[in-house]
């Protein structure tokens, strides 16, 4: 039991660090989710309020079929790609921040 809680009052274990961590992660996730949800819930609404526009023919497809059956997938890949790149950068930054914070407290 003796080796635990040796320096649990350091920066990594602080409330401040946790808050900062979760807020930044959640903000990134919510931004990406919003971009996705706007299209996901917007498309039925567009079908509902602008049926004629959505029934326009594009190379044989109706516009709405083309969006939902084909174009939706690449759109989601782009969001996923952005999220992964950003969240990895975020983790790097957090590791640095944690090291800096710890050094500051000790000093």
């Amino acid at each position: 039991m003796s080796h635990q809680n040796p320096d649990h009052d350091d920066f990594i274990h602080s409330e401040e660090f946790l808050h900062h961590l979760m807020r930044r992660q959640l903000r990134l996730s919510i931004a990406c989710a919003a971009a996705f949800l706007i299209l996901l819930f917007g498309l039925p609404l567009a079908n509902y309020f602008a049926p004629e526009l959505m029934a326009l023919r594009v190379g044989g497809f109706t516009l709405t079929w083309l969006i939902l059956g084909v174009l939706f997938f690449p759109f989601v890949w782009i969001i996923a790609r952005i999220f992964i790149t950003r969240s990895m950068a975020l983790e790097e930054a957090e590791v640095l921040l944690a090291a800096e914070g710890n050094a500051k407290r000790k000093a």
Partner: protein
């Protein structure tokens, strides 16, 4: 169709090869998986490429391979929400759940439930849903199996196909465990991808492009002002066949808010204007179920633990989304071609209905290209086998782990030796396989894709709120989590079962008699179309209900928030490089485990 009665050796040969290769790989890898850890999570040593293929292979079930095509053929545009949301649910998993859960490190969702709340009791509650969701998800896989076997061997009763496939896979899982499954699943993804795409390319080159085939179906606005495109069908392209009476009209098929979402309102005799808002509600509820449900599927989450680290887990999710996204473009094409060139399926029901369009469509080119048609149909049958075999295997492993690892290993006999648990794993696999076969034999009249949607709705109302809230809100208590998960999940389970029972009561075959007690429900649904929609697609009310209860009950039981919650949240959210996980484990052990 004179050919339907005869028996095609090509089709049999391709299917037989798929089954034999699957079993052979299972047995071969059974030799290399020895320890209990190998059995449960494949020793946690699977590379990104293999793991992404394996997750995709496990995820692309009979619903994806056969069900979507059947449903697009039957219902048109509205059915497209299924493939899109099946693929996009992964984005939600990636954004909110995959990373933290991987950092926390646990074998299964029940492991997470116990670790997050330091509560073995909660583990027992959480384990139930592995079985609930699992059984709901195996039913459509079994229907896929019965339908495919009835197609290969004309005249074979549906239930025999279900029993044979169920027995083969159960044996395979009982002997191979998950180590075998990872390799098998990965290979099966590529079989499915090949089997869905190659026939589509051949069929499109014979019958004209995707867009051209869609343009044969005129929407309401096309009729009002006939555009030039419809007339540009080249003389060489075959004209589409006449639709039977049971088929939906062009206008309702190609446009949103068609037969799938207006069914309840039409039955109640509402006008088109009155039923449109209800259709919108149906669509939204379906989207919520599918997108949130993906994150709560027990057999998918367990695979995130087989990644070496959190970065690999994220990369895996990205690849999974690409692999399944590409796949999901193809099945609707079968549905569109099926409507144009195989309309007689509209008149049939059960295992002879639109759910088999993927299997039967390639046969059409036999007249022109002879044996090529048989070979292509053999390929799609092989893909169908890969589809229901891989998903059923994955579910069987998850459900069996829950029974052997949790119920037996932790609740009934905590002092059992690893050897006893391994033996129990085999017996549990046989038990669960048997129950799945019985359930599968009951559901012939229900659509494959529809049933999978229900499994997603139950997952969305139980595991998704649990995972989402536990990861992001430190104020959650065990009581709050359990109340929300149980209420939301059981409400969704109950309403889905009620809808299924009342649909089965309409069947003209033996199932109609078995479920005739529920036929009164159908009169009630006619009176109350809104309630019918809310019962058929429960996610829109059950997910907020679960989350709301979690918040209210947790606030009321604030005192029972786990003591070391800050440490737990740090482990969930801090980068793995900081090494908090190791520290946390040591502390937990220090506390007297």
């Amino acid at each position: 169709m004179p050919e339907a009665a005869s028996f095609d050796y090509w089709i049999l040969a391709f299917s037989a090869i798929t089954v034999i290769v699957t079993i052979w790989m299972g047995f071969r890898s059974a030799k290399t998986s020895k320890s209990a850890s190998d059995f449960f999570v494949a020793g946690r040593s699977v590379s990104v490429g293999w793991n992404a293929s394996a997750i995709s292979g496990e995820y692309l079930s009979a619903a994806s391979f056969m069900g979507i095509a059947g449903m697009v053929m039957l219902s048109g545009y509205d059915a497209l929400w299924y493939p899109v949301c099946y693929a996009c649910g992964y984005l939600f998993l990636l954004l909110f759940i995959a990373g933290p859960l991987r950092r926390f490190g646990a074998y299964t969702i029940p492991d997470f439930a116990e670790g997050r709340y330091d509560s073995p009791v909660f583990r027992k509650i959480a384990v139930c849903f592995v079985l609930f969701i699992g059984f709901f998800y195996t039913m459509p896989q079994m229907k896929g199996a019965g339908t495919t076997l009835a197609y290969i061997f004309p005249g074979l009763p549906y239930w025999v196909g279900v029993a044979v496939v169920g027995a083969v896979i159960t044996l395979n899982v009982a002997l191979g465990g998950m180590k075998g499954i990872t390799l098998v699943q990965a290979v099966q993804y590529w079989i499915k991808m090949f089997a869905i795409s190659v026939p589509v390319f051949v069929l499109l080159s014979v019958y004209g492009g995707y867009g051209k085939n869609l343009s044969l179906n005129q929407s309401a606005s096309d009729v009002a002002s006939p555009p030039a495109i419809v007339q540009t069908v080249e003389p060489g392209t075959p004209q589409r066949l006449a639709l039977p009476e049971k088929a939906p009209s062009d206008e309702s098929w190609i446009a949103p808010f068609g037969p799938l979402t207006t069914k309840a309102a039409t039955a109640a005799g509402l006008s088109a204007e009155e039923s449109k808002p209800l259709s919108l509600l149906y669509t939204f509820s379906l989207i919520v179920a599918l997108v949130c449900g993906t994150a709560g599927l027990p057999h998918i989450l367990v695979r995130f633990y087989t990644n070496p680290d959190g970065v690999a887990a994220k990369k895996t999710t990205m690849w999974v989304m690409i692999l399944i996204g590409v796949f999901y473009v193809f099945p609707p094409i079968f549905g569109v071609l099926g409507r144009n060139f195989l309309p007689e399926l509209y008149a049939a029901t059960g295992s002879k209905g639109p759910d088999k369009v993927v299997l039967e469509l390639p046969i059409l080119i036999r007249e022109k290209y002879g044996i090529l048609g048989s070979i292509l149909s053999g390929i799609t049958c092989a893909g169908a086998f890969a589809a229901f075999m891989s998903t059923f295997s994955g579910l069987l492993v998850s459900m069996t782990s829950a029974l052997a690892h949790d119920v037996y290993g932790r609740m009934l006999r905590p002092q059992s030796t690893p050897a006893q648990r391994m033996a129990m794993f085999k017996w549990c696999a046989i038990l669960i396989g048997g129950v799945s076969v019985i359930l599968g034999a009951l559901v012939e009249p229900l659509e494959i894709n529809f049933m999978v949607g229900q499994a997603f709705a139950i997952a969305a109302a139980s595991y998704f709120p649990l995972l989402f809230m536990s990861v992001w809100w430190r104020g959650m208590t065990m009581t709050g989590a359990a109340t929300g998960m149980l209420t939301g999940g059981l409400c969704a389970l109950f309403s889905a079962t009620l809808v299924n029972a009342s649909t089965l009561a309409l069947d003209k075959g033996p199932m109609g008699k078995l479920f005739s007690g529920f036929s009164g429900m159908n009169d009630f649904w006619k009176e109350h179309p809104l309630l019918r929609i809310l019962a058929e697609q429960p996610a829109i009310w059950s997910v907020p209900l679960a989350i709301g209860l979690m918040i209210v009950v947790s606030k009321a039981t604030k005192k029972t928030v786990p003591e070391n919650i800050r440490m737990k949240m740090l482990v969930l959210h801090a980068p793995e490089k900081l090494g908090l996980k190791q520290e946390y484990i040591e502390e937990q052990q220090g506390m007297g485990h």
